[in-house]
Amino acid sequence: MAENVSSLMLDGNAAAGLLQEIFVPEITTAQVECGGCGHTAPIGSLQLYGSGMGAVLRCSHCDGLVMRAARTAHGRWLEMKGARCLRFSGDMAADRQC
């Protein structure tokens, strides 16, 4: 069957457009700790799914759901149940150089 495989995983960095509508500081370099397995990684390196409906970001270690976001006609939604915490580097120089 003709298949338009838009569901292949992308990198979290590709969700930057949607996420930057919600977060003020650079979000792709923020470190997130997976609530499931404890693995900590930059959001830009998470596994991104959900194309077209929203951003579904999964841990690259355990596939656990870390965060989800969607832009709807009535606003933006963000859920971070699967994240223990998010850390934005205070060092702007480090942020710039990633």
């Binding site: 069957m1 298949e3 838009s6 569901s7 995983m9 959900g50 969607a70 939604w77 859920e79």
Partner: protein, 206 residues
């Protein structure tokens, strides 16, 4: 608010249909079958697949693949409508209707008004039972006469074509009856709780 600038010469590949009795408002007909997913494609082997009907702590029924295939089969030719605006007409499916499943566990009617579909990979979606009975919903195992490929939800997926296609949950493994409605995966992230394409119920608040 400023008028959105038009990109000279740009056209959608898909043809917008004037609203008619086949294509809901805002939809574009496609001949592709786009794949959307919220996670990695589960690769459940038929030998380990089973499907369960659950009410509270009780299991009302459970079928392995052979048992499920032995249930009365139905085919259906339906139009499907994705909230991301593509519609695909005349898709053919085969599987077991929700009515047949209820009947096979000896239920004349549903024990509760709502269900939550639970799927491999963790996806969920909630549907009123009234939208599944009377032939409105099935657990599908074939698409266009062939086993549904994993990327499209195989071995088995829910098929509820009169609602937006995110309700036709892929990789369905368990249907849990609920007394109270609860929101599933997309319904809890801003999408409409019911999802009628003919009323353009895409998002919560529509």
């Amino acid at each position: 608010m400023d008028e959105t600038p038009i990109s000279r010469g740009f056209r959608s590949r898909r043809q917008e249909q004037a609203p008619n009795n086949r294509v809901p408002p805002g939809q574009y007909v496609t001949t592709d079958f786009p794949v959307l997913s919220a996670g990695p494609t589960p690769q459940t082997k038929l030998q380990s697949w089973n499907f369960a009907l659950q009410l509270g702590a009780s299991l009302l029924g459970r079928w392995n693949w052979a048992e499920f295939e032995a249930l009365p089969q139905s085919t259906a030719k339906k139009d499907i409508h994705c909230v991301t605006k593509w519609s695909k007409l005349d898709t053919t499916w085969q599987g077991v209707t929700f009515d047949a499943i209820l009947k096979s566990v000896g239920l004349a009617e549903s024990p509760a008004p709502y269900i939550m579909a639970h799927c491999d990979g963790g996806y969920t979606t909630n549907i009123p039972v009234a939208d599944l009975i009377g032939g409105k919903g099935m657990i599908a195992t074939r698409y266009e006469g062939l086993p549904i490929p994993p990327s499209h939800g195989g071995p088995a997926r829910l098929l509820v074509p009169h609602l937006y296609f995110w309700k036709s949950a892929k990789w369905v493994r368990r249907i849990r009856f609920m007394e109270q409605d609860q929101r599933g995966f997309w319904e809890s992230l801003g999408y409409h709780n019911y999802g009628d394409p003919w009323k353009e119920q895409r998002y919560d608040g529509d």
